[in-house]
Symmetry: C2
Subunit: 242 residues, 2 copies
């Protein structure tokens, strides 16, 4: 029985796991857990992941959640995975663990704080916290600075590597979440970080054509959101003139 | 040259790394980075960890930060470490990665949010956010529930193990940070979670006498903080009667 991968492509760690499976030719079945419809709270999904989050995998009788743990598991469990994704060299591997751990409380927390509170919550009628959005942006900008000056200082990919690892896929998918912002905000935040922008392009190329294919649903959502925001902005301008 | 371990025992991940080194008989030199005196921002320490946080290690020419990455590195780099701390079995190891990843955005974030904003920030004259303390407590309580009902459901230690792993040390050291709260708040929050309390005791026993020795500085700080809070509470009562 093929590996089962429970995901919602709107979630950044879900996309990371999907891209990893596709680029490595892993035979898997993608199962949608529609987060906007609260399917992650269904009793069936709670049996897979009691934390009610995506992604999760089921490989035979083995269940696993948390995307970094999943990426490491897949790298070790499937012999076809090239070694650069999760090197067996202890020093290289440890640096990958370090950047993945750092990601949790920095880049991820910043991005989620900003995008959820400024865009996703208001659009979906959920309570949002403008102060949390502001703090999210601050942490995101600080994290982008650390990526530029430290994590990407020695190589084309993270932690001085010439080839991508699971950390590159994970972190680039996270930053892709900024596509939900207005074009102006997106460019204002990302443009100062030349190495980050170049590294994102390199990671996309290294995982083509799967990267764009898996992100298609994000770009569709982005188009809808930006159109809606533009319409609301015009409405507000008309109102302010009346 | 012995392994260098840069820590402040007031920090929970620092204590986890120290206890791990001691229980496994690893030869190391402990170097204090006094966080209350902002020594983590010194140019010398920035060379060790540009993120300006403790703990970090230097092993020969190899530098590493992020406590989970350090614990994994030490488990692999020192042959004397017993296998239960970080099992080589892929399924067991993956579950340990999963609980460590979960820890970042749940138990850790909850504990830090509560303890920093309700106790450490006001005591040290730093800006605190009562709303963040409230949200921290909510996330902490939810995380304790998940520990009780899921992570500890099948064994004496995390993820169904009969012997402790690096995850047990890491998570128990985190919960020990609640010792900074008043006795009343500490008991109110922890008491409902019988399995969690039992597991903490079991982890302390499994790492004795190092657990208590490394936590001594925390208990001293706890005594001072509780005395100060009691004095301030008496003062406030007198004031309210005037």
């Amino acid at each position: 029985m093929a590996l089962k991968v429970y995901v919602d492509r709107m979630s950044q760690p879900s996309r990371a796991v999907l891209i990893f499976c596709k680029i490595n030719g892993i035979d898997f079945e993608e199962i949608l857990v529609d987060v906007l419809k609260n399917k992650q709270f269904s009793p069936e999904y709670k049996e897979i992941n009691p934390m009610c989050q995506v992604p999760a995998i089921v490989d035979g009788r083995f269940k696993l959640f948390e995307s970094h743990a999943i990426l490491i598991y897949l790298s070790c469990a499937f012999p076809g995975v090239a070694s650069h994704w999760y090197p067996s060299d202890l020093f290289k591997r440890s640096k990958i663990h370090s950047v993945l751990d750092w990601h949790h409380s920095n880049l991820r927390r910043g991005t989620v704080g900003l995008v959820f509170n400024s865009i996703l919550a208001p659009l979906n009628g959920l309570p949002s916290n403008p102060q949390a959005a502001k703090e999210g942006e601050k942490l995101l900008v600080k994290s982008l600075g650390k990526l530029e000056d430290y994590w990407l200082k020695d190589g084309r990919f993270l932690v001085g590597s010439l080839q991508p690892s699971i950390a590159d896929i994970s972190l680039v998918c996270e930053i892709m979440q900024l596509e939900f912002l207005s074009e102006e905000d997106h460019d204002r935040i990302l443009r100062p970080y030349k190495k980050v922008v170049k590294w994102m392009e390199d990671t996309k190329k290294a995982t083509a054509p799967h990267f764009d294919e898996v992100h298609r649903v994000l770009f569709k959502a982005q188009k809808r959101i930006r159109e809606r925001m533009a319409t609301e902005s015009v409405k507000n301008k008309v109102k302010s003139k009346l």
